[in-house]
Amino acid sequence: MMAFTIAWRELRNLFLSPLAWVLLFAVQLIHGWLFAVYVEGVLAAPPNGVTGVTDLVAGNLFGVASFLMLLVVPLLSMRLFSEERRNGSLTLLLSAPVRVSEIVLGKYLGLMGLLALMVALLTAMPLSLAAGTQLDYGKLAAEGLGLLLLLSAFAAAGLFMSTLTRQPVVAAIASFGLLMFLWVISSLGRGNLHLSSGLHYLSLLDHYFSLLRGTFDSADVIFYLLFSIVFLSLSMWRLDSARLQA
């Protein structure tokens, strides 16, 4: 499968630039700091049994992580296509016997590889508490999966934005704007019940927080998958039509 060849190359390319290392470092530092703060809090006031350590530490940590990643993912996704278009190397992929769908999927999977690593590093922090206390593994798994799904949606949107422009910075700002808008969209519908429930469904945030609460609703999972598929399809369509118009 050609998409995996491209994905592997893309993942290694990410690590060839200092950007991925710097972001990994910064994200890990902030998460580690917050983790320490939450653990400190639990130690100062031990949980009374209704809300456990998993909620107090992991729940808070994953909540903050989602917002941090909203800032980080556009920085990682911005280069995927815009840089290749700018320095002409996209031609290599387009003139090779490879389908456009394989190119898009390959790039996407490459980025997801790095994001999955970030989620794994983050999940490892609360997991380390298992040495000293009882953890709710089901809840932790739901939180990890939720973050991964959320990031896959971020990445798909960012990838699409990077097919639109040759300027990586423009792609980053555009995807940041789009994600931010979809983040806060549910607040627009306050007061109007019909609008509110519709916007609530579109909000990236609300689906995530229902997973964070430990409610594994297939509707939430499907929402993120659909979101990703839509943006990946748009990217494929965009690359195909670039051949017609450019």
Binding site: T5, N13, S17
Partner: protein
């Protein structure tokens, strides 16, 4: 699948009535071309003539507005994957990843072209050897000089031994020694592959191509073998240099000389009648009459002149057409 050995049956590239519009502007109009195995076709034209657009369409990077492209008998638009497998393409800007080493890059290209994993290393090594990249396999592409980067681009295009190699201005930005090396490489490639290259450098065509197609404003204005082009470069005049120049009227009297003009005390330009070859007669006469012959220099119609003639004739014609 058609193979390279069946070249007499089907040409490697067959393009029929290709059109490409950018909005209202036609970049390529009614362009047809064929390329056989062992041929090096030079696509020649001034800047903006539609050379790059044509090559982009041949390599599947640009969709034509109308027309048909057959690569090794496979329709590029119907079966892009099969057709693209037979192409090696070097665009104007070599499609390189500056962060990778030459080896990493070439191995990735080999994988993209679906070479089996066991053959990638060998293909990469032989492409590097042919392009003079033997010693730079472990260097980072971004740190290589422009000439070496261009060679990496060519190596990428021939890596999977495609039936057709398409090179868009392969010698642009290279120094004279590199240009000679790249031209030698192209001649070498022409033996086993079909090569199509674009250029606006006329001597390049003379140096490497076996056939020439001149495009101007998106149309083919001339298409012939290099010999056919050379025929258009007939001798126009000779410059006679003597210690004692004879009277001009004597020179005019020589058969085959249309006119003569004195350039200075020693030199005169003799304009030749069409299809006449009086050079030998002039030399004999010079010896017999003791003019003190020092030189007889033929003046060819230059390739530039031929090129300008062809393109301006086309301009004049289209002006007439648009006026009508």
């Amino acid at each position: 699948m058609p193979t390279g050995t069946l070249t007499n049956a089907a040409p490697l590239i067959k393009v029929e009535n290709l059109y490409r519009y950018y909005g209202q502007r036609a970049a390529v109009q009614d362009l047809s071309l064929t390329l056989a195995k062992g041929e090096i076709l030079g696509l020649l034209g001034p800047n903006g003539a539609g050379k790059t657009s044509t090559l982009q369409m041949l390599s599947g990077n640009l969709a034509p507005s109308a027309g048909r492209i057959l690569i090794d008998g496979v329709d590029l638009l119907d079966e892009p994957l099969a057709a693209k497998a037979a192409i090696g393409y070097l665009p104007e800007i070599p499609p390189l990843y500056p962060d990778l080493t030459v080896d990493e890059y070439l191995l990735y290209c080999a994988a993209l072209h679906r070479l089996p994993a066991t053959k990638r290393r060998g293909a990469c090594d032989s492409a590097r050897e042919r392009c003079g990249l033997k010693d730079v396999g472990r260097r980072i592409i971004g740190n290589l000089s422009k000439g070496y980067q261009q060679r990496v681009g060519i190596a990428q295009a021939i890596l999977h031994s495609p039936a057709v190699v398409i090179l868009d201005e392969p010698t642009v930005g290279l120094d004279p020694i590199q240009i000679r090396e790249v031209r030698a490489l192209i001649s070498e490639l022409g033996k086993e592959h079909g090569v199509i290259l674009s250029t606006h450098i006329l001597p390049e065509v003379q140096a490497v191509c076996s056939r020439v197609q001149i495009v101007h404003r998106g149309r083919t204005v001339f298409s012939d073998s290099l010999a056919g082009l050379a025929e258009r470069m007939e001798i126009l005049s000779v410059v006679l240099e003597c210690r004692q120049l004879p009277p001009i009227k004597d020179l005019r009297a020589i058969e085959g000389v249309q006119s003569a003009e004195k350039l200075d005390n020693r030199r005169a330009r003799l304009r030749l009648a069409p299809d006449a070859d009086p050079v030998e007669a002039i030399a004999t006469l010079a010896v017999k009459n003791k003019w003190g012959l020092r030189g007889l220099t033929p003046e060819y119609k230059s390739l530039e002149q031929v090129f300008v003639d062809i393109t301006t004739a086309d301009d004049a014609q289209s002006d007439v057409e648009s006026a009508a």
